[in-house]
Symmetry: C2
Subunit: 143 residues, 2 copies
Amino acid sequence: MILEKKKAFNDFSARKGLRSTRQRDIILDIFLSTHQHISVEELYFKIKSSNPGIGHATVYRTLKLFAEAGLAREIHLHDGQTRYEHVVAGEHHDHLVCTGCNSIIEFEDETIEKLQNEIASRHGFQIKNHKMEIYGLCATCKQ
Amino acid sequence: MILEKKKAFNDFSARKGLRSTRQRDIILDIFLSTHQHISVEELYFKIKSSNPGIGHATVYRTLKLFAEAGLAREIHLHDGQTRYEHVVAGEHHDHLVCTGCNSIIEFEDETIEKLQNEIASRHGFQIKNHKMEIYGLCATCKQ
DNA sequence: CTTGCTGCAAACAGTTTGCAGAACT
DNA sequence: AGTTCTGCAAACTGTTTGCAGCAAG
């Protein structure tokens, strides 16, 4: 699965005429080794620790490429930072965000997806993507 | 309804020991006269045009108060600006956001709300609030 | 050798904060 | 009078951009 993603990015690069660089390889490796929902800042520091040379801007630029290549997805959780999560083909999930401990639980619900499609078509709307986040307290924090 | 909101804010101010100031009155008036989903920046310029003296910071600070007082709600639509919408008691709606013309359609769906509650309780999660945005093209833009 | 990519620093946008003076109560 | 609120400017945060030098093809 990590190899698949690397291949996907190679294909994307080839298609777009992008070059293969040491930095992009490193950033991809480290991104693929992370958990879900890492912020650019977090990733940047993770990268810095093993590869001090890499600059802020490169990390931002490269993550945009990953998103464009379809292997990462930008998410925004109201804390003023852009996060990226791993894209798993054909799967879409939403988030329960704990405002106590900032943990994130993922969930998927087909019925909701179906309802969304209905609502959209009722308004003549063509869905590109959607986000749903539920904010509150997780089982641990609500006590 | 506008009077209700003014009263609500007065009550809130009294409860919190806040002062009634010319600026807060003006900002509330203009906020109440706007459409849904106005960004702080937009509101600030609207205010500036009739009341040049009012500062950036005051608008930000005052909108936070409105949110705290329960008559406005912060929303974030991924364009890097904070927007505020009017709170209508007991009502919750979500958004269809057109990425073509930036128009926003509101909708409400009880079944989705119900499913959200189910999902949350399945995870032992206590909901405080939630947001759902569907991005895509509206009827006009998709042609 | 050509062109894209990188790192740095500076620029940027939106928002927050510190502070002296103004304005409520 | 006492304290909160305001306006300004400066600070801050996350992100983007310009550019000279570096490196991939």
